[in-house]
């Protein structure tokens, strides 16, 4: 079975990764600031830490301050680049060292350390980072049980930070590179996200003594998976990250039944998914724009924060139109990911709307964006692929298991329908043969039910198959009893 993981390029060395990150600093300028070329130098040491209003902490050397802005050298490892922050972006400035004048030679850049074993040689002040990647098919490879099992491992390892990379399969066909269009997602997959998210929210609050920081890292969170990151405030994107493809609420139920009842069903579903966004501290209007093609939403930035307008007016940037008539997305728009009937977040847009706190393509970049790169220990990452091995094992074990279970169930169904009575010795009336066949059918049914006990949440969510099997088992028992009665006396 294909492994559902994305191998991150480990091509760039440490210095090269630093250059990429430094270049990224330019691209991450606040929307109102023009992009500026970065003059990258090897500087001595940062002297201050600045906590930004986005929650990010950066290390800087302060060059110049005024009432409205602070000019700094921003540090990435041992390299720095000039940057200007507006006072409105800054929460606090804390001194961490002296000025760089006459400083010593550049120190070795801080390296994010992989702990090969949980608890092994991890400094007391280190942050234990657990990384898990949710890849494959949402609702098949990614469902409640494997996610919960992976989080249980994180709890056993006393993780301080859990990074959840969302990278669901969004390919048109397995083995092909072409991706689906934004209108090919299914809103009803929200129920899968709804089933999973308590593992990150209410259950985590109940089970963990010390609550970890949960960070969602979006590469492909399309269709139902788009709702999952919204339950937390800490979201980052990869540079080609996308989150959306759930714009089907308006069309749900088609023309079935009465319109007022369809409205009720849509309303409660909308409330569920908006609730998930509210729980994560996000504006529910964003979710509404993601799920309804008829919803018109615009935004603009005021005092560094996005403000939304339901509708469109001059001076506002249109996010989604009503998708009607000539405003409906064309095939040309959709295949290029340029549609605006419903909202799909890209890395750039998510950052502007402050849904995302930053963009990172590698784990090291992400840890830097989070401001913890110098304290982070990635737990149990022997192969240094940036993912905790225990998490990978849990998720892969489920994926493999469920594929096997699905194949096995198909086989068992076939076998059940093809059980035959075989002639047996000393069996004049054929009762032994019939009972042997019944016993075989019962064994097959029991085996199928055992598989459904483990994988039923995916293979038989409505339990209909299970119900049929149990009914068949009861009927077999009944046949035996009836035959005994007919053969030898009262019932």
């Amino acid at each position: 079975m294909p492994k559902n993981r994305t191998r991150r390029a480990g091509i760039l060395g440490r210095a090269a990764a630093g250059v990429v990150a430094a270049a990224g600093l330019v691209l991450l300028a606040a929307p109102a600031e023009p992009a500026a070329a970065a003059a990258i130098t090897f500087a001595s040491q940062p002297t201050h830490e600045i906590l930004l209003s986005t929650g990010q902490t950066v290390k800087v050397e302060i060059l110049k301050e005024s009432d409205s802005e602070v000019e700094v050298n921003l540090f990435v490892g041992s390299m720095s680049a000039p940057r200007t922050y507006q006072r409105s972006e800054i929460v606090s400035i804390t001194e961490i060292g002296q000025s760089t004048a006459g400083a010593a030679a550049p120190t070795k850049s801080t390296k994010t350390t992989r702990a090969s074993k949980s608890g092994e040689n991890i400094p007391d002040n280190a942050l234990r980072v657990y990384v898990m990647e949710l890849g494959g098919r949402f609702g098949w490879d990614v469902s409640y049980t494997p996610v919960n099992d992976a989080l249980e491992k994180a709890r056993e390892m006393n993780a301080d930070v859990i990074i959840v990379k969302c990278n669901a399969d969004w390919k048109q066909l397995e083995g092909f590179v072409e991706e689906k269009a934004d209108d090919q997602g299914e809103f009803e997959e929200y129920s899968i996200a709804e089933a999973i998210h308590p593992a990150f929210t209410s259950e985590m609050r109940a089970k963990w003594e010390k609550q970890p920081q949960v960070v969602f890292w979006v590469e492909r969170a399309m269709s139902g998976m788009a709702f999952l990151p919204l339950v937390k405030n800490d979201i980052y994107f990869t540079s080609d990250g996308r989150m959306g493809g759930v714009g089907g609420l308006d069309e749900l139920f088609g023309s079935m039944g009465d319109e007022v009842v369809r409205d009720k069903q849509k309303s409660l579903r909308e409330a569920y998914v908006k609730g998930m966004a509210i729980e994560g501290g996000h504006d529910p209007k964003i979710v509404e724009a993601m799920i309804k093609k008829s919803y018109v939403l615009s935004y603009r930035i005021e005092n560094g924060k996005p403000v939304y307008l339901v509708g469109e007016e001059p001076g506002w940037i249109l996010l989604t139109d009503d998708g009607k008539d000539e405003r409906a997305d064309t095939n040309s728009d959709l295949v290029r990911g340029l549609g605006n009937d419903s909202l799909t977040l890209t890395s750039d847009l998510a950052y502007k709307l402050q849904v995302s706190k930053g963009t990172a393509d590698t784990l090291d970049d992400l840890l830097f964006q989070m401001g913890i790169e110098d304290r982070a220990y990635v737990l149990d990452d022997k192969d240094e692929d940036g993912e905790t091995d225990a998490a990978r094992r849990e998720l892969d074990s489920w994926s493999t298991g469920i594929e096997r279970a699905a194949q096995k169930l198909r086989r068992l169904q076939f076998d059940l329908g093809n059980v035959q009575e075989r002639q047996m010795r000393n069996d004049p009336d054929g009762s032994k043969a019939r009972n042997a066949a019944r016993a075989q059918r019962t064994r097959i049914i029991n085996e199928a039910i055992a598989l459904l006990n483990k994988y039923g949440e995916v293979l038989d969510p409505g339990q209909q198959f299970r119900v049929q099997l149990e009914l068949q088992r009861q009927q077999i028992e009944n046949e035996k009893r009836l035959e005994r009665t007919r053969g030898g006396g009262g019932g």
């Binding site: 109940a206 909308e270 409330a271 509210i278 299970r466 009665t485």
Partner: protein, 423 residues
């Protein structure tokens, strides 16, 4: 139509009543002792009294966990035996007056609060019966304030009035009650609106109260008007503007003005208010932000600690009643333990009913397919299964209602069995 054909027709008709059976292992037949507990609501429960203390009894009905019955509900007990019933020290013991004084103390100025979860389907897991049974347990533990944590997608409309009456007439006189909304959809919202003081969880939702059945067919005409009127009355109990619930039931606008100075909110059944909740082309379900901004809710709390902080602004210091249980983020009181046990029992019965019903039909079919002289065993088992179905319905009458298992139906089945026995 011959008798045989009539029976066959009835058997087929019975087949249409079978609930979808769920996974439960087959159990041996159980013939209960004949202690009879007659309740004040007219029901008679047959089983074995396995424990008794201070008038409370634990009755083994032969299916599921023992049923806990308060003396307040008992009319009469007819005992099969005069043997003394063990009072037992295990499990939770109902305290004597002396014991009560030892287990907790009334601290002046401190409000004793308990969380009760109202979860599952209205009329099944979320029902008036267990909540009524919880009242003496709350009193036992000296609870002053009850938090109803609601997480339900709705259910039976007929249970709404029972639940609202219970909250209004039995809970409010004895306790301060507040609601903590995780999800209150349809019948759950129509019940919870009885509570004046509501808090939401951040993911909370409340509304979507359109009545419907089958293939999304709406309740209309007289039935709709009855529900609209009922909800006007229930909204008044919760001191909520009836226009809010109306906008949750039918496509009708709802907007409001908020007086920033006084905090007063005025609702309108149109779109003239400054804040529009429903333009009239939708069914309203409030999220936590809408609820708080419109003062429908008194605040938003994601944890019991946050809820406590909000409540203490008005009631002062709070102490939570109950035991710490791993995996549950709030103390579990006796009343809450009872709700959890009841829900487990209902889930068990609901899952078993289909299986027992199928077995009952099979035994009838078996009896029908053999001669009169060979029917005895099948009919005895059929009677046993029928008795078990009766006990399940006695435990939760709504279960019978949903499956159309009325008293008439039971009488018909008994007659079928008699007829089969006679040939």
């Amino acid at each position: 139509m011959t008798l045989r054909n009539r029976i066959a027709t009835l058997a087929i008709a019975l087949a249409m009543l079978v609930a979808t059976p769920r996974a439960m292992a087959a159990a041996n037949l159980y013939e209960p002792e004949q202690d009879i507990v007659k309740l004040k609501d007219g029901r008679e429960l047959k089983g074995t009294i396995v424990k008794e203390q201070n008038g409370y009894i634990w009755l083994d009905l032969g299916v599921g966990p023992e049923m806990f019955i308060s003396p307040a509900d008992i009319q009469e007990i007819v005992r099969d035996s005069d043997e003394p019933i063990p009072s037992g020290d295990e499990g939770f013991a109902v305290k004597t007056e002396d014991d009560k004084e030892k287990s907790w103390e009334r601290v002046p100025g401190v409000t004793r609060a308990a969380i009760i979860t109202a979860e599952g389907m209205v009329g099944m897991q979320f029902a008036a019966k267990p909540l009524r049974e919880a009242i003496p347990l709350l009193e036992e533990e000296g609870v002053d304030l009850v938090v109803f944590k609601v997480n339900s997608g709705g259910g039976l409309g007929l249970e709404i009035q029972r639940l609202s009456d219970l909250l209004q007439n039995e809970y409010k006189p004895k306790f301060q009650i507040v609601g903590w909304i995780e999800s209150a959809i349809s019948a759950a919202a129509m019940t919870a609106i009885t509570i004046e003081e509501l808090y939401f969880m951040p993911k909370g939702n409340f509304g979507a109260c359109t009545g419907w059945s089958g293939q999304l067919v709406a309740v209309e005409g007289r039935g709709l008007e009855e529900y609209l009127y009922k909800m006007e009355q229930i909204s008044a109990r919760g001191n909520k503007d009836p226009q809010i619930m109306k906008s949750m039931q039918i496509n009708i606008p709802l907007s409001y003005d908020l007086d920033e100075a006084t905090g007063e909110v005025k609702f309108y059944q149109d779109t003239t208010g400054e804040h529009i909740l429903n333009k009239g082309d939708y069914i309203l379900t409030l999220d936590a932000i809408q609820a708080e901004e419109s003062k429908f809710s008194a605040g938003t709390a994601s944890t019991v600690q946050e809820l406590q902080a909000l409540l203490e602004k008005s009631v002062g210091e709070i102490v939570w009643v109950g035991e710490e249980v791993e995996g549950i983020p709030y103390p579990v009181s006796l009343a809450e333990k009872h709700q959890r046990e009841y829900r487990e029992e209902v889930d068990y019965q609901d899952a078993r009913l289909g299986e027992v019903f199928t077995k009952y039909r099979m035994e009838l079919g078996n009896a029908q397919s053999v001669g009169v002289n060979q029917r005895g065993g099948f009919l005895k088992r059929a009677e046993s299964y029928l008795a078990r179905i009766k006990r399940m319905v006695d435990i939760n009458p709504n279960l019978g209602l949903m499956q159309n298992l009325t008293d008439d139906w039971f009488r018909q089945q008994e007659e079928i069995i008699r007829n089969l026995r006679r040939g």
